[in-house]
C-alpha cells in the first residue's frame, strides 16, 4: 500500500478544489434538509423514549427518601437526617450505635416531625427492612418528650431500635445513590454488618419471576413459531384471492381491542367456560375434573400466544412471499425428496423471517403486562406485573426502575447475542 503514491494524492475538481470538500459542500443542503425532516421525530423520540429511559436508569440507583425532603407544593428541598449521616461518616459500618448516635437520631427525627415527613423517611427504611416504618412514625410523635440518655429513651419506645439490621438499613439509606435496589431486584440484601447475602428462601421472588418470564416468553415464541410457520406458508403460496381472506383472519386480532380478546379467552377457558362446558357436555371430562386453563400459566401462554401470533406470521409471510416456487422445484428435479428440499432449500431462505418474528414476539412477551395480569392468576404473573405492583401499590419506584433496567439489560444482551449468532442484517421485518 505504501508504494502506491497515486492513491495518496488528493483528488481535485477542475478548478483545483479538493474533491472531498467540493462534495461535502454540494451535499450540505441536501443533508440539512434531510436533518430538518427528521427533526420532529428525533425530538419526539428524545422526549418520549430516551429521556424516560434515562430517568428510569437514574431512579434505579437514586433514592432521596432518607436524605432530602422535597415540599410538594413549593418544591423546596431540605436535607434530612443530617446529624445521623455525619455520625455514619465518622463511624465505620458495623459500629454499635452509642449515645451520640441516638442523640443525632432524636434530633433528626425531631426535624422530620417538623417537616411532617417521618412517614416517607420510614418508608425508605421499610424497603430495606420490613416493619420499620411504624418505628419512625411512633418516634416522631414522642421525640419532644424524650429525655437523655436518648439511647434508653429509644429502647423504652421500642426494643427494635437496638437492632443492628435497622442501623445497617439507615446507614445504607443515608446516601442518595445506591445499588441496593439492584441487589433487591436479584433477591439479595445486606446484613447488619453490610455484607451482601441472599434473602430468606420464602422471600426470594424476583429471580424466580425473571426465570419464569424468560421461560414463558420462550415457550410463547416457540408456540407462535410452530403455529405461524404453516399459516405463513399457506398465505404465501395460495392464490391471492384466497390468501387475502386468510390474511384478514390472521390480522383480525389486530383490529379488536386487546381487552376484548383477553376477556373472550377468559369466557372460553375458565372452569365454567365454554370449552370446559363443551367437554363435560360431550362426556370427555367428568364434571368434577374440569380443566384449569385460566388464572394460571396455561391461561397466560394460550392467550399470549394468540395475541402475539400476527407478529410472527407477518415477518414470516414477508420472507416467504418472494420465494419463487422454482427453488423447491429445482431441488426436487435435482433429486431431493420434498423433506430434503424443504430442509435444505426452503427453510434456510425463511430464517431471516424466523429471526425477526422470534425477536419481535419474544421482546413483546417479556414485557407483556395486561394479559398475564388478567388471566395469569398467581403463577402466571410475569416480571412486568411485579414492576407495575411496585409502581402502583408499594410505591417503591426505585425497585421498579431497577427491575425494569434489568429487563432492558437482558433484552439488549439477547439482541447482542442474536446479532453475534445470526447477524442483525439478516433480520427481515417486511
Amino acid at each position: 500500500m505504501s508504494e502506491t503514491s497515486a492513491s495518496d494524492e488528493i483528488l481535485t475538481t477542475a478548478d483545483g478544489k479538493p474533491l472531498k470538500e467540493a462534495l461535502a459542500k454540494a451535499q450540505f443542503f441536501a443533508k440539512r434538509r434531510a436533518f430538518i425532516l427528521v427533526l420532529p421525530l428525533l425530538a419526539f423520540i428524545l422526549l418520549t423514549f430516551v429521556m424516560p429511559i434515562g430517568q428510569m436508569l437514574h431512579r434505579s440507583v437514586k433514592n432521596e427518601g432518607f436524605t432530602v425532603h422535597t415540599d410538594v407544593t413549593t418544591g423546596v428541598r431540605t436535607p434530612i437526617m443530617t446529624e445521623l449521616s455525619i455520625w455514619f461518616d465518622q463511624n465505620p459500618s458495623g459500629t454499635v450505635p452509642d449515645e451520640a448516635a441516638y442523640t443525632a437520631l432524636r434530633n433528626d427525627i425531631g426535624a422530620l416531625d417538623e417537616l411532617r415527613s417521618a412517614g416517607s423517611a420510614g418508608t425508605r427504611i421499610n424497603y430495606l427492612r420490613a416493619g420499620s416504618r411504624s418505628l419512625f412514625t411512633k418516634a416522631a410523635r414522642k421525640w419532644d418528650k424524650m429525655e437523655a440518655p436518648y439511647q434508653d429513651a429509644f429502647y423504652d419506645l421500642d426494643d427494635e431500635w437496638a437492632d443492628a439490621t435497622l442501623w445497617a438499613a439507615m446507614r445504607q439509606a443515608s446516601s442518595s445513590y445506591t445499588f441496593d435496589f439492584y441487589l433487591a431486584a436479584m433477591d439479595y440484601t445486606r446484613d447488619g454488618d453490610g455484607s451482601v447475602t441472599k434473602v430468606n428462601e420464602n422471600r426470594q421472588v424476583y429471580i424466580k419471576l425473571f426465570v419464569r418470564t424468560l421461560f414463558l416468553s420462550l415457550l410463547i415464541t416457540f408456540m407462535t413459531f410452530i403455529l405461524a410457520y404453516p399459516i405463513a406458508h399457506l398465505l404465501a403460496t395460495l392464490p391471492l384471492r384466497h390468501s387475502n381472506i386468510l390474511m384478514i383472519l390472521v390480522l383480525l386480532p389486530f383490529w379488536t381491542s386487546l381487552l376484548v380478546r383477553t376477556t373472550s379467552w377468559m369466557v372460553l377457558l375458565q372452569s365454567q367456560g365454554v370449552v370446559n362446558d363443551a367437554m363435560v357436555g360431550v362426556g370427555i371430562l367428568a364434571d368434577e375434573s374440569r380443566l384449569q386453563m385460566m388464572y394460571n400459566q396455561t391461561g397466560t401462554v394460550i392467550a399470549m400466544t394468540h395475541i402475539l401470533l400476527p407478529f410472527m406470521v407477518l415477518p414470516l409471510y414477508s420472507v416467504m412471499r418472494p420465494i419463487n416456487p422454482s427453488y423447491v422445484r429445482a431441488a426436487r428435479s435435482l433429486g431431493a425428496t420434498s423433506w430434503t428440499a424443504f430442509r435444505r432449500i426452503y427453510f434456510p431462505q425463511t430464517v431471516p423471517g424466523i429471526g425477526a418474528g422470534a425477536l419481535l414476539v419474544f421482546i413483546l412477551a417479556v414485557g407483556y403486562y395486561i394479559t398475564p395480569a388478567l388471566v395469569g392468576g398467581a403463577d402466571g404473573q410475569l416480571i412486568s406485573n411485579l414492576i407495575a405492583f411496585h409502581m402502583q401499590k408499594s410505591l417503591n419506584w426505585s425497585l421498579a426502575a431497577a427491575l425494569a433496567s434489568l429487563l432492558l439489560g437482558g433484552i439488549l444482551l439477547l439482541y447482542w447475542l442474536y446479532d453475534r449468532l445470526v447477524g442483525i442484517d439478516n433480520l427481515k421485518l417486511g
Partner: protein
C-alpha cells in the same frame, strides 16, 4: 409427425389433457414423441400451455387425462425426485444461500456420492460452461448470463438423460442469448442429451432445434424440423407465427393438378397457389407468401404467372436488406424483402409496380 407407436421413443405424451380448474382445458389432446438425443423445442405464444407440458413431464403437475411415458414406462406415479430429469428455469433458480460449488454439489449429495467423486464431477461440469473460477461465488455475485451458465451446469452435473428448459434465456440481452443458444445446443449434442426446450422466441426455436412443436391454445399446430416449418407451414397460425409473412384473403375458384389451385382475392384479382389446406372450390382461404419470395422484377417470373398491381408505401433501408412496404389487393401491410445488391433498385413511395411469385411459394391455407 413421428409414429406414436414407435417404441424407440424416449419421451412420449399420449393423448394428454390438462385442466387446472375443471372448466378450461389448458392442454388439449397432446400427442408427442421424441427419440433419444433429440433437441425438441416447444414454441408458442404466452399462455399456450408450454410450461404446463413441461411441468407435467417433470412431475410438478399431473395430467388430467392421458399418459406420459419415459423410456417406455409411464411416469404418472413416479415422484419428481425419482425421474432424474434436469431442469433449467427462466429465473435460474440457483439456491441463493449456497455458493456455486454447493449448488452443484446438491444433486450429488442427495444421491449420496462421496466427496472426491463430487468434486471431480463439479469441476467437470463447471469447466463445461467455462465457469471453473466461480466455484466459491454466491449467485448474487454473478451476472445473469453467468447465473444461467451455472444453472445449466447444475442441471447437467448429475448426468440426466433428459433435460427440460423453460425459457432459460428469456431474461438475457440479445448478444448473450445468441452466445448461450450456441453453447446449449453444442452441449446437448456433445453429451447426447434429450432436450425439451421451451421458448416463445421463434428465432431461438429455429436456430437451436432438431424439431419444433408449435403450440397454440393447448394444441400442437405443427411439429416439424425448422426448415420445413418455415417453408411449409401447415396452417395460417404457423405461417403467421414463424417468421415474417404476407397474408392475402380470398376464395378458392379452381383446384388444379400438381397440388395447385386458383384463388380469387377479395378485390377480384386471381392468383395461383399451392393448395395446402384447401380441398374444394368455394372455400375461403388465407394465402401466405414469405416476404423474400416476392418478385418485383417481371423478367424473373415464369411465363404465364399471375401478377398483381402494387403501390409502394414505404421503403426502409436495413443495411443488408431492403424492406419495401406495398399496398396490394387493398391491404397496405404487404412487405417485400430484397437483398441489398448493386442492381436492386430503391423504390420511391408512390411508385406503381407489378409483383408476382412462383405458385409453389404461395400457400393457400385455412381461413
Amino acid at each position: 409427425m413421428t409414429d406414436l407407436a414407435n417404441d424407440q421413443s424416449f419421451v412420449k405424451f399420449d393423448r394428454v389433457q390438462k385442466s387446472y380448474d375443471g372448466e378450461v382445458l389448458v392442454v388439449k389432446d397432446l400427442n408427442l414423441s421424441l427419440p433419444k438425443g433429440e433437441f425438441l423445442t416447444m414454441l408458442g405464444p404466452s399462455g399456450s400451455g408450454k410450461t404446463t407440458c413441461l411441468m407435467m413431464l417433470a412431475g410438478f403437475e399431473t395430467a388430467t387425462h392421458g399418459e406420459i411415458l419415459l423410456d417406455g414406462s409411464p411416469i404418472n406415479n413416479i415422484p419428481p425426485h425419482k425421474r432424474g430429469i434436469g431442469m433449467v428455469f427462466q429465473n435460474y433458480a440457483l439456491f441463493p444461500h449456497m455458493t456455486v460449488g454447493e449448488n452443484l454439489s446438491f444433486p450429488l449429495e442427495v444421491r449420496g456420492m462421496d466427496k472426491s467423486v463430487r468434486e471431480e464431477k463439479i469441476k467437470r461440469a463447471l469447466d463445461m460452461v467455462q465457469m471453473g473460477d466461480f466455484i466459491n461465488r454466491r449467485p448474487a455475485q454473478l451476472s445473469g448470463g453467468q447465473q444461467q451458465r451455472i444453472a445449466l451446469s447444475r442441471a447437467l452435473v448429475f448426468e440426466p438423460e433428459l433435460v427440460l428448459m423453460d425459457e432459460p434465456l428469456g431474461a438475457l440481452d440479445k448478444q448473450l442469448r445468441e452466445q448461450l443458444q450456441f453453447e446449449i445446443t453444442r452441449l446437448a449434442h456433445d453429451l447426447g442429451i434429450t432436450t425439451v426446450y421451451v421458448t416463445h422466441d421463434q428465432t431461438e426455436a429455429l436456430t437451436m432445434s432438431d424439431r419444433v412443436a408449435v403450440f397454440e391454445d393447448g394444441r400442437i399446430q405443427q411439429l416439424a424440423p425448422p426448415d420445413k416449418l418455415y417453408e411449409e407451414p401447415e396452417n395460417s397460425f404457423v405461417a403467421q407465427f414463424i417468421g415474417e409473412n404476407n397474408t392475402l384473403e380470398g376464395v378458392v375458384t379452381a383446384i388444379k393438378d400438381n397440388n395447385l389451385c386458383e384463388i380469387k382475392l377479395d378485390d377480384g384479382e386471381i392468383i395461383d397457389a399451392n393448395a395446402v389446406n384447401v380441398s374444394k372450390v368455394g372455400e375461403r382461404s388465407r394465402v401466405s407468401i414469405r416476404p423474400e419470395r416476392v418478385e418485383m422484377n417481371k423478367d424473373r417470373l415464369q411465363p404465364g404467372a399471375h401478377t398483381l398491381k402494387a403501390e409502394v408505401m414505404e421503403f426502409i433501408y436495413m443495411g443488408d436488406m431492403f424492406r419495401t412496404r406495398l399496398r396490394v389487393a387493398g391491404k397496405d401491410d404487404f412487405v417485400v424483402k430484397t437483398r441489398n445488391a448493386p442492381d436492386q433498385q430503391r423504390l420511391e413511395p408512390g411508385t406503381q409496380i407489378d409483383i408476382g411469385w412462383l405458385p409453389e411459394d404461395c400457400r393457400a391455407l385455412d381461413a
